[in-house]
């Protein structure tokens, strides 16, 4: 498969119109690209758009509850939100995916997208956040992350959904089993025993029918007719009819009471709600609690206390204390919110139960001729129900969405609700009196009692039978479902394990490149925990012994190496037809000294890949550009709400310094050169094993570093070496000495020509100590008693050779 020719993104996330165009063509070929830009300049919108193209969604946004409606730029109108990619492969050609505001989950597609997706079974983009998640998450989450790394996202989504559904099936079964308790209870009340089967039911019915002189039944279908005969007998006598009516009402009332009085709880909730919502602005900040927690974690882990980890802005004062105090305040608010939410849930459940009782009583009283006080009771039910339903509707919302203006107290403070709660004794006594008067006649009492008993028996037996049948059927479906789900999970696990095995040798190679100085750590492995549906552990050989989980001994940076190795090994093994990778700020996860190894890794194993690399680390970009001079460079120098990223050709430090000098801006030229020189001298001191004057702050000045570099070079190469002469000339130059003292000051006492002179001298030195073949600087090595000052490849540069003297 060929390369990516061009990516155009329009109206998407942080990119507005005109479209952001990334053209990979350079001279006559298609190259890799590096984009440098500070955080917040819109770089990640490129990865988001790419993920949308490849999978139809943006997973990390989906997990935060942000769906496709969050994709378009707020200013983009219909037809302006899209990603368009051109490939050199004629079979794929050009693909455009356009957001459709009328069907947000079904974007408009032009081109052979399915062919592209077929070629990318494994995700080819990796963000900094993916690696940090990998480091911090637990076993189950890690399984998910790794599975997604390896192209199992869809399989895993299905597995998660199947698990959710299994829970719903279990709930449904329990709910049916709970429903089954009521008919059993009603049957027991009517017969004194529990329902068993049709035979025992008919036997009980026949005892009653016999008592009332009605022909016994032989099968279930005849029961209905016999009940009708009993009804006729009851209806023949007006007083029996009345007794039947009152006993029916008695049953309904006995089931309605006791009913919960929710008024005091609702008043308390209303009071707390108003207090909680008094400061709307603070409540809206609750969303930041997690961010502050992660921020504290990140600062403590990175040990950078004076710079915001999100925006890189400096902070005067103790940043961690500042965040902790903000977090503490919100944490308190969060606790209050949770307490209030617990009250909301309890009230929701209570109001639901009361409404259920009202529904039952209302529907059963509907066609009955009623007398006071039952008549008022029924009218009260009708008036109270919609008010309680209003409360229930509001209580069903998240606490943030409950309307603070909604007056719960008025809804439950009606005289009808009060009357319902207080009329229990009056109603019950009235019914009892009526029943006692009418039951004085024993024959009537027996007839009506038997009629109601048979009726209840038949209803409860029918309900019991229906529920049992439902339960049986649900169990059958559930068992079958579980078998399918179990086999599916096993198959997915087998697939994931097979993928782990496939990538294992590359994983080990890449990890070794990134962790080459950790001699005691080797052979990283990913192991499934077979007894769990979703759990994975990382294993590492430490000092010859397998350690699992590897977290016991690996540092955060080593875990990042593990994560990046897994991602790259998966790409290598699974995306064999699509050699394109996007790395979004992944370098941020590594210590400064390890960052060049990522370059080594890309150079050694991914030289035939097209890479789109996004970073906000300018120094690392310099290294990258030295190693891959043919890559296209872009600089996102700012972001504008209306336009999106502001783009210019990317410049390395040299080019930036030259530009500042051309504009006669010695302050910026000096500052950029100072930062660059400090970094390069540190690197050279490390490479040459130079001794730098110790200080407790671990901060070194330019002159200290330069002095250490000069001394080491002089010691190993002698004073008559041509490069040493250049260094001595550079260091003793009065311009450089002046620069060392003043380069950090905003008002610099030097001119552009002075900076230019020392800059040119340094460039000459650098051209002598950087290998033209491997693009690396000289280093000191002692092999078999022989000392070398050469580059790592030892082919392009050997400073010990005679030509330098």
């Amino acid at each position: 498969m060929g390369e990516v020719q061009k990516i155009a993104i329009s109206g998407f996330r942080g990119v507005n119109t005109p479209p952001l165009e990334l053209d990979f063509k350079k001279e006559h070929s298609f190259q890799s690209m590096m984009i440098y830009g500070r955080n917040g300049t819109g770089k990640s919108s490129i990865v988001d758009a790419w993920e949308w193209l490849c999978s139809g969604k943006i997973e990390y946004l989906a997990r935060e509850g942000a769906g496709p409606q969050a994709y378009p730029h707020k200013e983009a109108s219909e037809g302006q939100t899209y990603i368009e990619v051109e490939f050199t492969d004629g079979e794929i050609g050009k693909i455009k995916m356009e957001y459709d505001p009328n069907r947000i989950t079904q974007p408009k597609i032009k081109g052979n997208l399915s062919k592209l997706r077929e070629r990318i079974p494994h995700p080819c983009h990796l963000r900094y956040r993916d690696l940090t998640e990998f480091v911090y998450e637990r076993k189950a989450e890690k399984y998910e992350i790794l599975s997604r790394f390896m192209g199992f996202a869809n399989a895993l989504n299905i597995q998660n959904d199947l698990q959710t559904c299994a829970g719903r099936l279990e709930q449904e079964l329990k709910s049916l089993q709970r429903d089954g308790d009521r008919p059993v209870e009603e049957y027991r009340e009517a017969s004194g025993e529990e329902p068993k089967d049709i035979g025992s039911f008919i036997k009980i019915v026949n005892i009653i029918l016999n008592r009332q002189g009605i022909v016994p039944v032989r099968e279930l279908a005849e029961v209905e007719t016999s009940i009708e005969k009993l009804r006729e007998q009851v209806e023949k006598d007006e007083r029996s009819q009345k007794l039947s009516l009152w006993k029916g009402i008695q049953g309904i009332i006995n089931r309605f009471y006791p009913v919960e009085d929710i008024r005091s709880n609702i008043s308390e909730f209303q009071r707390d709600l108003i207090a909680f919502k008094r400061d709307e602005e603070e409540v809206s900040k609750l969303i930041l609690v997690d961010l502050y927690e992660k921020g504290i974690e990140a600062i403590e882990s990175l040990k950078i206390y004076d710079k915001c980890p999100l925006c890189d802005q400096s902070y005067k004062g103790n940043l961690i204390e500042h965040i902790k105090s903000k977090h503490g305040h919100l944490d308190e608010l969060s606790k209050r919110r949770n307490e209030l939410d617990a009250k909301r849930k309890k009230l929701l459940s209570s109001s639901d139960e009361v409404i259920g009782k009202i529904d039952f009583a209302s529907s059963n009283l509907e066609e009955k001729e009623l007398e006071p006080p039952v008549m008022q009771f029924k009218e009260n039910l009708i008036k109270v129900k919609p008010l309680l339903e209003d409360c229930k509707g509001m209580l069903g919302k998240k606490i943030e969405n409950v309307d603070k203006e909604f007056n719960f107290i008025t809804k439950v403070g009606t005289k009808e609700y009060k009357s319902l709660l207080e009329s229990k004794s009056e109603i019950k006594e009235k019914i009892l009196r009526q029943v006692e008067i009418l039951e004085k006649d024993e024959l009537r009492k027996s007839l009506v009692g038997d009629f109601q008993r048979t009726n209840n028996l038949q209803k409860s037996f029918t309900n019991w039978t229906r529920l049992n049948k439902k339960i049986e059927m649900l169990e059958e479906i559930k068992n079958s479902y579980e078998k399918i789900r179990g086999d599916y999970v096993e198959e997915t696990k087998r697939g994931v394990q097979a993928s782990f095995d496939t990538i294992s040798s590359d994983l080990a190679k890449y990890f070794k490149t990134l962790e080459k100085d950790s001699e005691v750590i080797a052979d990283p492995k990913i192991k499934l925990i077979s007894e769990k549906d979703k759990a994975v552990e990382l294993e590492i050989i430490f000092g010859g012994d397998p350690i699992s989980p590897a977290y016991k001994i690996l540092s955060e940076s080593q875990l990042n190496s593990f994560g990046l190795s897994i991602f790259l090994a998966s790409i290598k093994n699974f995306n064999t037809d699509f050699k394109f990778i996007i790395l979004d700020d992944v370098i941020n996860s590594f210590d400064a000294y390890k960052r060049p190894r990522v370059i080594d890794l890309l150079k050694e194993y991914f030289s035939d890949y097209q890479i789109l690399l996004l970073t906000h680390d300018s120094i690392w970009l310099d290294r990258l550009q030295r190693s891959f001079p043919q890559w296209i460079r872009k600089h996102f120098y700012g972001w504008d709400y209306a336009l999106g990223p502001r783009v210019e050709p990317g410049k390395n430090s040299y080019e930036q310094i030259e530009e500042f000098l051309a504009k006669d801006n010695p302050t910026e030229a000096g500052r950029t050169f100072g930062v660059y020189l400090k970094w390069i001298l540190q690197l050279l001191c490390e490479n040459l094993e130079a001794s730098v004057k110790y200080n407790r702050q671990n901060e070194y000045t330019l002159s200290e570093l330069c002095q250490a570099f000069r001394e080491r070079m002089k010691k190993k190469l002698k004073e008559n070496h041509s490069v040493v002469k250049l260094i001595l000339d550079f260091e003793y130059d009065s311009g450089f000495r002046n620069f060392c003292v003043h380069w950090k000051e905003p008002e610099t006492p030097y001119t552009s020509s002075e900076i230019k002179e020392i800059f040119e001298k340094w460039k000459t030195i650098e051209s002598e100590i950087e290998c033209p073949n491997c693009n690396k600087f000289i280093r000191y090595e002692k092999v078999n008693g022989h000392e070398h000052i050469s580059c790592p490849c030892r082919e392009g540069l050997n400073l010990k050779s005679d030509e330098y003297y």
Binding site: R466, K483, I484, T492
Partner: protein
């Protein structure tokens, strides 16, 4: 298991599972995952249908 839909299609034809259940699970699967709501609706129709048939 990079292609789960294929696995479910194979499972339908395997004869290993209750046919209507595996067929319904397959019908509820798309690129977006497994539609739990759709499956639960099918289940409630099945339960009512069975009682109705009775």
């Amino acid at each position: 298991m990079r292609y789960p839909i294929k696995w479910f299609e194979g499972a339908i034809n395997s004869g290993k599972y209750k046919k209507e259940v595996i067929a319904e699970i397959r019908a509820c699967i798309s690129e977006d995952g497994f539609n739990v709501g759709k499956f639960m609706h099918w289940l409630s129709v099945q339960l009512e249908k069975d009682i109705g048939d009775d």
